[in-house]
Symmetry: none
Amino acid sequence: MTRSKRAEERRSQILEHALLVFAHQGYHGASVSDIVKAAGVARGTFYLYFDSKEAVFRELLDELLSTLRSSVRGMDIGPSAAPMQEQLQGILVRILRTAESNRALTRIIFREAVGLDEAVDAKLQGFNDGLQAWLVAALTVGEGLELVRPTDRDVAATCILGAVRQVIDRYVVQSDAPLDAESIAAAVVRFSLEGLA
Amino acid sequence: MTRSKRAEERRSQILEHALLVFAHQGYHGASVSDIVKAAGVARGTFYLYFDSKEAVFRELLDELLSTLRSSVRGMDIGPSAAPMQEQLQGILVRILRTAESNRALTRIIFREAVGLDEAVDAKLQGFNDGLQAWLVAALTVGEGLELVRPTDRDVAATCILGAVRQVIDRYVVQSDAPLDAESIAAAVVRFSLEGLA
Amino acid sequence: MTRSKRAEERRSQILEHALLVFAHQGYHGASVSDIVKAAGVARGTFYLYFDSKEAVFRELLDELLSTLRSSVRGMDIGPSAAPMQEQLQGILVRILRTAESNRALTRIIFREAVGLDEAVDAKLQGFNDGLQAWLVAALTVGEGLELVRPTDRDVAATCILGAVRQVIDRYVVQSDAPLDAESIAAAVVRFSLEGLA
Amino acid sequence: MTRSKRAEERRSQILEHALLVFAHQGYHGASVSDIVKAAGVARGTFYLYFDSKEAVFRELLDELLSTLRSSVRGMDIGPSAAPMQEQLQGILVRILRTAESNRALTRIIFREAVGLDEAVDAKLQGFNDGLQAWLVAALTVGEGLELVRPTDRDVAATCILGAVRQVIDRYVVQSDAPLDAESIAAAVVRFSLEGLA
DNA sequence: AATGAATGAGTGTTCATTCAT
DNA sequence: GATGAATGAACACTCATTCAT
């Protein structure tokens, strides 16, 4: 499988440089020329590994979405779980760290993938909806365990999701500074559980 | 005045159809051809009223941003103000209703104007930053009045902003259904002030 | 005929400003917008008096060509005429002065009307050919009177024509300075009759 | 080298057809479509080899100007040179032959490049000024050697330049017939040196 | 597998001309 | 007669994609 290994490397090489170029210039601002120039391959080679400019973008998108997805998984919403606050904070720290170590990809998701085309939008929407549903389920369980007061769970889930997104946007996408994930996560969780008053 | 009135109508006619086309196809997906076809005018007529495709877009963008801005204004953060909860809820209702009655424009801001070009990005960023700063200021005052517990105000403001954005995205942009602004606003404010626990 | 008088004035008004605009911006660089703006009339008015942008240009061209033509006429090539040298110098002075007092038009003929379109080219060519033929005829007579030595009259006429054109180009079109028509004409005539050696 | 050779051929192919199209239709009359249709290449291919329509034109222009420049060079204006008459005639023959074997290019310079844009005009003007200065210098030397009678050298140079230009225009640009360069050059030189009287 | 020259559909924009008022 | 808003054909140029080598 030497061939396929070399091929895999080629793919990665293109993918990595496409990531940088997209993050830097945006989807529309990045031409296939820019990508192949950055990757050091010929134009034709690009199309040997990817169907289109859009396809390479979609692949990058899937990559981060699945990375983020796995950061979220693993919350124990069963009855005998660890204190919710700790669990939530742990998840949030993982998400923030994932975003931080994939700044370019995160920037793409937050800035470039929005309103791009229907397929991409559907993908982002699906991811969002998954999180929303997961949060609603978690709130339902929490309410059953009386860890969470009765509330409009759909709105509450939406608020949490939005808060986390905005935190990522502000502290990861907009800023280049390193991130104090622990304390930010703690503040977010405290805000969510205890409110401001 | 007849002339300028007719001209104003023409402009609006183009602007309105541009709005629909942008909302439907996105900035890059919408060609000037699409817009003039939708508006039922000739290509040249478009350029009689607008300098460029970008210029129409910017105008639409400015329109909603200033509408939203005026929805936010008017919070009394002085010491003798009405209860914060009520004020916040009032603002939020106004924002939600503004967004609801400008669904296409709101969609554009949330979906199409992101990552478009530097000037547009800067405009959105500025709007965002303005809100963030306003929220931080409001939290500072609230903390002084002991209406708000001590907290990381930057993170808290970010969370609120994100929550509101996501609520608009979910209930206005994603959905076509009419909106129960009052109860959603109430839920958001309650979430923000009291938290979930 | 008050109407036609007013109409005539309108025409002139447009014509004069078109002249300035063409002289300043060139034929292709001048838009109908520029002309009507300069003339202070509406776009439609322009087309009330002229068939097209090209037509107004042609009219300006004809104007100077006929002015120049009449500067040339009147040479007495009969046997009992005044000394040829004096006559030639007189003609040349008239031509130079005509060109000088119509600098803008002259500039147009020398710079803008060249290679414009077939009709205009044909007009310039015809003017040129007329002068060439006239010069050949003059040389033929001069040779008969033994005022001119036998020579290749076609080449000689071409040389004279070229010399005069270049003189106009250099001292009228390229320069804004006032012109010492007498002495330049004298130098040209002396060059033509006696040569340099 | 094969690649660059093929590329060179492609360039020439486009250049040559652009030459014909420009010569036939003029700069403004020739669209990029016309050029690529004539050259039998796709629109994009044109832009692979040239930056713009203007750039091809400039290249063609530079080509003939430098060819003509080298036809002029090499006159020995030192004191021990060959008889001026012979030298002048030789130069003129070279110029005429260069023009003759580049009829399309010459047509472009004489007809299409005039009044095109400032950069092109400046180029032509510079060429002209160079010749004028060279002629004035030659006349100054000739006067010192008493080969040339005292005269207004600026006017004389202008006359010679104009004569040569007009000869090229008449016998090369306007006519398709083959050219008797020798005898025309002889007639021009004789006219210049001995005059007509 | 790798190349990069070639492609051509598509873009935003201009401007001479028309015509309803 | 006068207006200027409206028109739409035409333009130079771009770039994702293909394919002969």
